[in-house]
Amino acid sequence: MPSEAGDRMAVLQGTLDLIVLRTLKSMGPQHAYAIATRIQQMSEDLLHLNQGTLYPALVRLEQQGRIKGTWGTTESNREAKFYAITKSGEKALAEETLRWRRMSGLVDKLLSEGA
């Protein structure tokens, strides 16, 4: 995505799963559109997300048993697949969050030392 990036960030590989889990955890069951909108809002539009790129992450998470999808209807009466975080998803979220904090802390530290 060379030209589109600008000062927006592309999603770091592997973090999308974490973000999706976090979103579902705080918002409860949601369909893909709502998840994508929410992520964009939360990142104050800094995070650029082709909404379609969400799908592989959803499929992957569902196959790993971390989320579970069921078909339902939205307020505007459209059918959509609603995803909810599962027990194992919550566990993974906790572990991944911890790992991520450690990791970013480490990177922070390395970067500030260099300065």
Binding site: N50, G52, V59, Q63
Partner: protein
């Protein structure tokens, strides 16, 4: 794990997964569009905006697909395509490898299809584990015997605490005299519990009642479903009808379905299906120890094999109190008895084919190493553009699997048709008939699994070596010829050495079996088979129960046959001509006190008509043999063989003694007469060519008491033997006709005596043929292996050879250098193989005859033969070194 299965499931649910995905993406786009419309966009524009915001729908789908399914399957398909292309490019290599693998896998498939038929398939009996055979453990030095007598049967049947449905069984042939022509039916005598113990379903009527199984019980019969269909057109009113068996009316009480021919196959795999069953009717008070048959039973529910064995062993004391014997008793699963003989053979064969496959693997591995050396550049480039080592190994292994599957498919075909051809060409009791060999899922699964394992065995080492590339050196040089490390040639040398070694082991095995077969045919059997015809007639029926009638009929028939032009001599035996069975009875020498045992000794016992020794050209050593003047009314006589004379008349003249045969062996065996020994004849191998002749007595049929004659004619057919002049064209038909007219009964089983002997050696012939095929395959593969290695070495060293030639080396010297290198490998292999053979040939001992497992001739001939073949395989590529042109060689890249 869960994800794995979901992905796997998605491979097969592709359609529905695609639908689901489109549905979800569609919903998402619709919602985006709603949002844009809410912001005031016209619907068309909103639709485009939605698509933009969403990103590439198709790309998403592709990403989606990658997530939900296996990428590596696609890579695998790519590998397969690539592999096929690459194999097609080198047809010589591919064909050689596939042929070698087909040989190896085919041999395994062939043997497995026998093992599958014989060892792995359960007996068609319900609850097979409880189906046992009763056995005597006999005197300390003799083997366990399944041969039973009425006295034993009565004793065993009383062991009701551990056994149930104890049943005696015996098979034979009987004449059906109820139709327009007399037919010969295969029949069995079985105890009342017989159908239950075999688990045979009575499809109509009933089996036998305990009352029907008592002596002098009613004449009842159960007929087989096959006979019922064939002979009685499945008549539902067959029950209660009478069938005439040898002139006696028997009431049909049931129809039994013995489609597996279980009862008859107890004795032999090739037994004909039974037609009719009659109750055995053993006297519960019998002390008869002469009649013989099998006894089978079922373990009582809850009783283990060991408990039954202990109980039977303990019960032997009671039996020994009644009868003077040292025998003990045991039970064995029927399966064990049926398979005892063939198991060793199948293990040896399985080992042999395993070796053939190993050689094939070594061979293909070698070819692959050569190929990998030639592909260094190609692989180097793949690595340079980012393929990981694992990826390269996977690619190379995929090619191996392709080769192996092709070899496996061809091998399946080869093995299946090969084993069928082989089984059709030999005939042996322990081997299954050709019709039983089929390709079922077991065989297919085995071949497939074997192919895959094989692919890894031969492919892994070359793949690992081939993928270990040093990019720098590979890409810099234009050819692959400098890139071959010492290690690689070492690996190849070891492979070739093991090929030769394994081939030695196999060849030793086949040479031993060839020697066995030759020894069997060279052994002095004591009778001549050339130009002898055998024919059989079952003299069953009331009138033949009288010895005099039977004798008169036989004499009349023989007189008729003897008048035919071309007939040299004719005779008959009630049991048995050589290779067709044997009977034994105890005997006592009149006036000599018995030794510690009851009798003077035991001896083989044959009932014959005059002319017997002429037909078989058995030499008369002393005295005379029977004539037509030895009649029922003349003094009783007997002829013995040399072995008997030597064993029992260490001093003294047998011709001055008389013997009594079968004293106290049961009323049906009591000869009762003191017979004058009138002659001594040469020894004959009666039972099998490999068994050493034992003592034997011949008695004239005319002098046999009615009691013996009765069972002898009803149980065993009378065998006619006729010696003819060389050309017997058309004569057989004439002989058959004369016999039919004289007896009024059908004639069957017409064979030349040569065929009878060859049938008796069918097992050994099979062993020899199979092992020879395997041995030769091994030799061929090893030769190809050596040739390939040396040809490659010469090719690889062309430049070096060229330089040496240019510097003035003698061509012959260079050739000798190549030969020396090749031969030192081959000889090392031969030595390893000899050492291994020395160790393992012992395992074959029970399959050998007339040759020791460490036969010196074999251990000299095999290495010599292999060395000669190796020399040839080395010589051809070495000669090529001679033709190297230095000028060309130096430019050779």
């Amino acid at each position: 794990m869960r994800r794995f299965f979901l992905r796997l499931a998605n491979l097969f649910r592709r359609r529905s997964a695609e639908g689901e995905m489109s549905r979800e993406i569609g919903a998402h786009l619709a919602m985006l569009q709603d949002e844009f419309e809410r912001q005031g966009m016209p619907s068309k524009e909103a639709q485009h905006a939605a698509k933009r915001a969403y990103g590439g729908v198709e790309q998403t789908k592709e990403l989606h697909r990658e997530e939900r399914s296996f990428v590596w399957i696609e890579q695998f398909i790519r590998d397969v395509r690539y592999g096929m292309r690459s194999l097609r490019r080198t047809p010589g290599f591919t064909l050689t490898a596939v042929a070698a693998l087909a040989m190896g896998i085919g041999a395994n498939t062939a043997i497995f299809s026998i093992i599958n038929t014989v060892l792995l398939k359960p007996l068609p009996v319900p609850d097979e584990d409880r189906f046992v055979v009763l056995m005597s453990t006999g005197e300390p030095d003799s083997e366990d015997s399944a041969v039973a007598t009425p006295a034993l049967f009565i004793h065993w049947r009383a062991q009701t605490s551990v056994l149930q449905d104890v049943s005696a069984m015996r098979t034979g042939a009987i004449n059906y005299t109820g139709g327009d022509v007399i037919e010969r039916w295969n029949f069995a005598q079985v105890s009342e519990g017989g159908f239950r113990v075999f688990g045979l379903p009575i499809t109509l009527g009933r089996g036998f009642t305990p009352e029907e199984d008592l002596p002098n019980g009613p004449h009842v019969a159960v007929i087989s479903a096959g006979l019922w269909r064939r002979r009685f057109a499945s008549d539902p009113r067959i029950l209660g009808k009478k069938v005439l068996l040898s002139g006696d009316p028997y009431t049909v009480v049931g129809v039994v379905n013995d489609s597996a021919n279980l009862v008859n196959e107890m004795g032999s795999n090739q037994a004909p299906p039974l037609d009719v069953y009659v109750p055995f009717q053993i006297d519960p008070n019998s002390s008869d120890q002469g009649q013989t048959f099998f006894v089978v039973a079922r373990l009582r529910p809850g009783i283990t094999l060991q408990q039954a064995q202990e109980r039977l062993q303990a019960s032997a004391t009671e039996y020994r109190a009644k009868f003077p014997t040292k025998a003990g008793f045991t039970v064995k699963p029927v399966r064990e008895l049926v398979l005892a003989d063939i198991r060793t053979l199948l293990f040896v064969l399985a080992g042999a084919v395993g070796l053939v496959l190993l050689i094939a693997c070594a061979n293909v591995a070698n070819l692959l190493l050569v190929r990998a050396a030639g592909r260094k550049r190609e692989i180097g480039i793949r690595v340079a553009i980012g393929a990981g080592r694992a990826r390269v190994v996977r690619q190379l292994l995929t090619e191996s699997v392709l080769l192996s599957l092709a070899g496996g498919a061809l091998g399946l075909l080869l093995g299946y048709s090969g084993i069928r051809a082989l089984l059709a060409s030999v005939n042996a009791d322990d081997l299954p008939p050709v019709s039983d060999i089929s390709i079922d899922w077991h065989v297919m699964g085995f071949t497939l699994a074997l192919s895959l394992v094989t692919a890894v065995v031969f492919g892994l080492l070359p793949a690992l070596q081939g993928s270990r590339v040093d990019l720098n050196s590979v890409l810099k040089y234009s050819g692959g010829r400098w890139g071959i490390g010492l290690r690689q040639n070492k690996a190849r040398a070891v492979l070739v050495m093991s090929e030769v070694g394994l081939a030695v082991v196999l060849l030793v095995g086949s040479a031993l079996l060839i020697r066995t077969f030759v020894a069997l045919y060279k052994v002095d059997r004591g009778f001549e088979t050339k130009n002898v015809i055998t024919l059989q007639t079952s003299l069953t029926g009331l009138k033949y129960m009288k010895s005099a009638v039977a004798t008169a009929t036989i004499r009349d028939a023989l007189d008729r046959v003897r008048t035919l032009p071309g007939v040299v001599a004719a005779s008959a035996s009630d049991c048995c001509v050589p290779m067709q069975g044997d009977l034994g009875l105890p005997f006592d020498i009149v006036g000599r006190p018995p030794t510690d045992r009851q009798h003077t000794g035991d001896s083989g016992w044959t009932m014959i008509s005059p002319g017997y020794f002429d037909v078989f050209k058995i030499p008369v050593k002393r005295g005379r043999v029977f004539t037509d003047r030895d009649e029922a009314t003349s003094p009783p006589v007997v002829v013995i063989n040399e072995r008997m004379a030597k064993e029992f008349w260490k001093d003294g003249d047998p011709l001055k003694d008389r013997i009594i045969i079968g004293k106290a062996a049961g009323k049906e065996y009591e000869d009762g007469q003191a017979r004058q020994i009138i002659g001594i004849v040469g020894d004959v191998r009666q039972d099998a060519l490999e068994s050493v002749p034992g003592p034997r007595m011949y008695v004239p049929h005319a002098q046999i008491p009615d009691a013996i004659n009765t069972w002898s004619v009803s149980l065993t057919p009378t065998t006619w033997i006729v010696r003819t002049r060389a050309n017997t064209e058309g004569l057989t038909k004439a002989i058959e006709e004369q016999l039919r007219q004289a007896t009024g009964l059908p004639v069957f089983d017409v064979h030349s005596m040569d065929d009878v002997v060859s049938l008796a050696t069918g097992q050994q012939r099979f062993n020899m043929l199979v092992m020879t095929v395997f041995g030769c395959s091994a030799l061929l593969l090893a030769a190809i292996g050596i040739y390939g290695l040396m040809a490659y070495t010469v090719e690889q060293r062309t430049q070096e050879i060229g330089i040496r030639l240019a510097l003035g080396a003698e061509a012959a010297q260079l050739r000798n250098m190549v030969v020396r290198q090749g031969m030192s490998l081959a000889l090392a292999g031969v030595v390893v193989g000899l050492v291994a053979s020395w160790g393992v040939s012992r395992m074959m001992e029970s399959l050998l005859f007339g040759v020791k497992p460490r036969d010196p001739l074999v251990f000299v001939a095999v290495p010599v033969a292999l060395t000669v073949v190796a020399l040839l395989a080395v010589w051809l590529p070495a000669r090529r070194a001679l033709r190297v042109d230095p000028a060309v060689a130096l430019r050779h890249e």
